[in-house]
């Protein structure tokens, strides 16, 4: 029983990694209706930005973190302005393919600049394990989870209570009405991408704080996509629960059934949910197929 609890805690903590990237996916989807398949590569690139400023340019982790996050937001803005804005109004599939392309380009650049080998990030999160009773959770995982919790909490407060959050929500429901009420929907698109840049970078840095960063870091975004599908695309709160759930299930399945099962059982569950409830567990009934 204790072992199960321990695995569960570890699972929830690793699910936290999905939460921020999934929030980034949802915010872009809600505001702009674009499936951002570059989410994983934005995670990876944001992480390299941090590595660049902190380690390579020697600014130290505080300044490096600030610069890395700002750069990630600027990169997201650049993607919106140069790649997606000119194609606004084109068929949906075109925009989705463009995000795929952007992802490949980012992966290519990362390989060019930083090479294929693992780069270790500075030790920010304490290593010392946390004991809850007699349950042990690895330190980095636990503190990473706490960090995710704080960021996700701040984000949800911002989304729910700030004026900008109201603008994003209004735009996601009905762009024309939002614009008619004085909301500059193009600015909302930009804001959503900038937030996505921040969230993905934070998510990437926390992920990489354990094993370092390679150009392949973004591949976890496939799991993130499963999380988002499970939650139902549009639900900010639902994504948090779904992220934790998928992380938990992966760990439990891995622990009790082995790695082979771990790699597909969670996705099988997501698939079953999609069959039973195509709009996801918490989604509004407006999910588009691609």
């Amino acid at each position: 029983m204790n072992l199960f609890l321990e695995f569960s805690l570890i699972g929830l903590a690793s699910g936290g990694i999905y939460v921020l990237a999934a929030l980034s996916f949802v915010i872009v989807y809600k505001a702009t209706n674009i499936f951002n398949f570059a989410t994983g590569e934005m995670m990876m690139f944001g992480t390299y930005f941090f590595y660049l400023f902190d380690t390579q340019l020697g600014f130290g982790w505080v300044a490096g973190l600030g610069m890395g996050l700002v750069s990630a937001a600027l990169l997201a803005l650049a993607i919106e302005r140069t790649m997606l804005r000119p194609l606004l109004g084109r068929p949906h599939i075109v925009l989705v393919m463009v995000t795929f392309g952007v992802g490949s380009i980012l992966r290519g650049f990362a390989g060019l600049f930083w090479g294929p080998n693992v780069r270790q990030l500075p030790e920010i999160l304490p290593r010392k394990p946390i004991f809850l009773g007699d349950i042990l959770v690895p330190g980095k995982l636990a503190w990473g989870f706490v960090t995710v919790g704080v960021i996700a909490g701040l984000f949800m407060l911002y989304y729910r209570y700030s004026r900008a959050g109201t603008a994003i929500r209004a735009t996601s429901i009905d762009q024309v009405t939002a614009e008619s009420l004085g909301i500059n929907i193009r600015a909302v698109f930009l804001l959503a991408w900038a937030l996505a840049g921040l969230l993905t970078a934070a998510s990437g840095i926390i992920t990489a704080s354990v094993n370092g960063v390679t150009p392949q870091l973004g591949l976890v975004a496939l799991n993130v996509l499963a999380v988002v599908m499970l939650a139902g695309m549009t639900s900010v709160g639902g994504v948090v629960i779904a992220g934790l759930f998928v992380g938990w299930m992966e760990t439990i399945v891995g622990a009790y059934l082995g790695a082979a099962w771990q790699s597909f059982i969670p996705y099988l569950v997501v698939l079953v949910v999609m069959f039973v409830k195509p709009s996801g567990l918490f989604g509004e009934q407006r999910v588009e197929r691609i």
Partner: protein, 251 residues
């Protein structure tokens, strides 16, 4: 009276070929209450969309003519800026945000308020609730669960929350019981009187609209077929019958 809004020789195209308006000229005086009448497809909604800039979302554009608001040509201005200048358009079909509460719907209009009007606090809903007390009881309800009449009140109240200077309402009475439609027009009238707010309504129910508006324009096939003080338009019964598709008989 000076004109708040002056439209002159306005022609509007949808796509490349569909001409929805052909040389329409309309004036809304400062603090005036003007009704835009006409049969289905006459171009009433198109006129409002041209003024509020929402034409762009339907691939429509102003081909000729000018739209002047308080002396400035605003025909090329994006909708959100027009809203921030005080031109608020309540679209046909109400378009409340169904998954947001009544209060959140109101707050979505905050961006239009900008620096205009009294410095009200963000959550100061009293003015809207004064005119629409029914909304107060539903303040925390999701807008999608309101009745049609309540949704119409919310759509108008939301525009009011933006502290408008020109309020345009398209087909406020559509699909509502006559009593509720009459109430809404009385409230619009009161808002017009209390706040010296310029109002332009589009309406199928001619007698209802002209009872409250001081001036009316009748559109037919994208042209102004008649206009004049409300009393004169009402008296010209034959004209009403002919151009308004029998709408004058509703009451």
């Amino acid at each position: 009276m000076t004109a708040a809004l002056e439209i002159s020789g306005l022609s509007v195209l949808y796509g490349q070929a569909i001409e929805a308006l052909d040389g329409v000229s309309i004036t809304v005086p400062e603090g005036g209450f003007v009704a835009l009448l006409g049969a289905n497809g006459a171009g009433k909604s198109t006129t409002l969309k041209a003024i509020s800039g929402l034409l762009r979302f339907e691939n429509g554009r102003v081909a000729r003519g000018t739209i002047t608001y308080r002396g400035d040509d605003v025909a090329a201005m994006p909708s959100y800026q027009l809203a921030r200048r005080g031109i608020l358009h309540v679209r046909e079909g109400r378009f409340v945000f169904p998954t947001m509460t009544v209060e959140e719907n109101l707050e979505a209009a905050l961006f239009a308020r900008g620096s205009r009007g009294p410095a009200l606090r963000r959550r100061d809903y009293d003015e809207v609730f004064h005119y629409f007390p029914a909304l107060k009881a539903r303040a925390k309800s999701q807008a999608g669960y309101l009745s049609g009449g309540e949704q119409q009140m919310l759509a108008i109240g939301r525009a009011l929350f933006a502290q408008p200077e020109l309020l345009m309402v398209d087909e406020a009475s559509l699909g509502l019981a006559p009593k509720i439609a009459a109430d809404i027009f009385s409230i619009l009238h009161a808002i017009n009187r209390d706040r010296r707010l310029s109002i332009l309504v589009v309406e199928q129910n001619v007698t209802l609209a002209l009872r409250h508006a001081s001036h009316g324009y009748v559109l037919e096939n994208g042209r102004v077929a008649a206009d004049g003080p409300s009393q004169k338009l009402l008296d010209r019964d034959t004209l009403s019958r002919r151009y308004l598709g029998g709408g004058a008989d509703v009451h």
